[in-house]
Symmetry: C2
Subunit: 369 residues, 2 copies
């Protein structure tokens, strides 16, 4: 654990709170909490909060059964606990009072559950409320060296699984999508990843035309284009890339053309990225290639999203986002074409914005073979 | 998909809203949404809401890229869509206005993210706000026949993996906790489960003394008591059981006594369950056995939690919970003893409350061998 890094992040966050006129930040188990303390846990029904005031020391309030882990795993100076059967809301109220945060402008995790924001509103009835992203996006959006190293390694692991898939392609024909997803999860672990960073997408044949299909009982057949979108985590940071492969046989009529259009759109968008370009403009570049090829109506989602501790975060490459890209930002570039009842095609790489362009973190072949 | 079941659940929810004086219920991707519509998806950053008014027809507002799946997978009469690049909050405002829900008392998913509740507050500035559980707990807490069948089958799958573990115990000594967690995930799939219902706990030796340890790099050794807490899903419903096993060799001094105390506490709590007993009283039964044995300070969590579409839901078996148990409720019974630096022991089964007692859904041996 890099204690100095986490305490610097907390200090910078306090600076930022003062800059934007906020009095405190309240996190529950979230990627913001992980960014600020190193502690990660899925949200649960027990009250667990980081209270980070604009002035004064941060403190954690945690269920007693997390205490050992929290003390081993974080450097937050004060840790308070509450036990099952006690009233956690009373403990929250006391902590907020001790930090002079029962009024003022308080920011909460963008993903904090309503049951907790409701309790916080009751504990600080005179406060006004905003979202943590107002303070944290500008800190989290540019990745430092250690973050980039983890993202690169997570991308390498995912690429290695795509390479494995190509080498064993014949074996997977006849499997269900779900069985292939399970095989992918195993390979990700073998190559050094930790779990999956989101539910694996194996969209075979017509299922590939549903961009948010996960995986189901359909058997993969020779000639199916199969949309494969998955990732893992390394040191907490995720990968997220997509290849569309035909594992055996020849693809349906029209598929190679569609694949080539998506590949060109993706390449054009990556080529367009450089410091200063607006996120929305990158979306436009990909979209124009697909529109000119006559498939504009079949590209039904944005071109990409930022990737950090959260798999989806700023910068979103979407029409209307006027945020300028800067060196150190990491995002996905993932245009697609979806033809309902027939097939889909998506090609996705993560890129990091460099001083003069973009560098792809995913390097495995982008073709359908 | 059982269309009639879902529309009946929506009707009963509307009845319940009227009973408690609420005007509407708003769900995002949650287990409440799954309960009411059959559609399940992890929450994401795109606005997706079910609007269920106390009077009038429910409607879904979904991102355009989910449209095909939603129309195939639900029977909600009206589905509206919005596309990436459009303003979803304007669409929410229009939908709430059309259902006369821009004022009145509105309930939101207990787990709804703050970024969405903030947008809803902006879209319905004159409304007052409560939590969905106020209406839905009483509907979801008693399981029907189909729900019980799924819970039973999920428990059977988890039990089968414990049996596999016992049969192959020697093979796992020398593995890391993480590697064993990955093996368990694979076996759960093999026996017919779908994924893991929560992050698998493999707490070996001293790691077992941290009740919320997941799994790490520690190598499992002969003589380690290993806390194994995991589950999978069948038809959307989870399993969740714990065994503490010594995979090879002899346990540390004092361990067999601790194991026996936990086993007795668990048996006493299960025996105490019958219709009419308060949830908090079941906690007391388990706690008294452990206190009498002199380990009261080492039982640092509640005795159990309800299990349904959510792995943790009402009824919580915790001090102070005066909810009476009723036939059809399902909960975990999972006392534990945690001795920091040495080992931990937890034994957990799911039970369903019957007309005259409790029936265990998990049946595999509770001993440490």
């Amino acid at each position: 654990m890099d204690a100095k890094m986490y305490s610097e992040r907390c200090d910078r966050t306090a600076d930022r709170l003062r800059e934007i006129g906020a009095d405190g930040l309240l996190c529950f188990p979230s990627r913001n909490l992980q960014y600020l303390t190193g502690f990660h846990e899925e949200p649960g029904e027990r009250h667990l909060f980081l209270v980070l005031p604009a002035e004064g020391d941060p403190a954690l309030l945690v269920p007693a059964l997390y205490e050992t882990q929290i003390r081993e795993g974080t450097t937050v100076p004060e840790v308070r606990t509450w036990e099952d059967g006690e009233d956690p809301v009373a403990a929250v109220r006391t902590l907020l009072a001790d930090r002079n945060l029962r009024e003022g402008h308080l920011l909460v995790d963008d993903r904090m559950w309503a049951r907790f924001t409701q309790d916080l509103r009751a504990a600080a009835p005179a406060a006004t409320w905003g979202l943590a992203s107002e303070a944290l996006v500008d800190l989290r959006i540019r990745k430092d060296g250690a973050e980039l190293a983890a993202l690169r390694e997570a991308a390498r692991v995912a690429d290695a699984v795509i390479d494995d898939l190509r080498e064993t392609a014949d074996e997977h024909v006849g499997k269900s999508e779900r069985a292939l997803a399970s095989w992918i999860a195993g390979r990700l672990e073998t190559h050094g990843g930790s779990g999956v960073s989101f539910e694996t997408v194996v969209g075979s044949g017509p299922n590939g035309a549903k961009p948010h299909h996960r995986s189901g009982d359909r058997e993969i057949r020779a000639g199916d284009p199969v949309v494969l979108d998955f990732g893992t985590r390394v040191d907490g940071y995720p990968s997220d890339q997509t290849r569309t492969l035909v594992l055996a046989g020849e693809p349906p009529e029209g598929y190679p053309t569609v694949h080539e259009v998506v590949r060109e759109a993706q390449a054009a968008a990556v080529d367009a990225i450089e410091p200063g370009i607006e996120a929305g403009a990158v979306d436009r570049v990909a979209r124009e290639v697909i529109e000119e090829a006559g498939y504009g109506d079949a590209f039904v989602h944005r071109t990409g999203h930022g990737v950090g501790l959260d798999v989806h975060e700023e910068p979103y490459l979407v029409a209307g986002n006027d945020r300028s890209l800067e060196p150190g930002m990491v995002c996905s570039v993932e245009p697609g074409i979806y033809l309902p009842g027939r097939f889909g095609c998506r090609i996705e790489d993560l890129i990091v914005v460099t001083e003069d362009g973009a560098e792809r973190l995913n390097r495995t072949d982008r073709g359908w073979r």
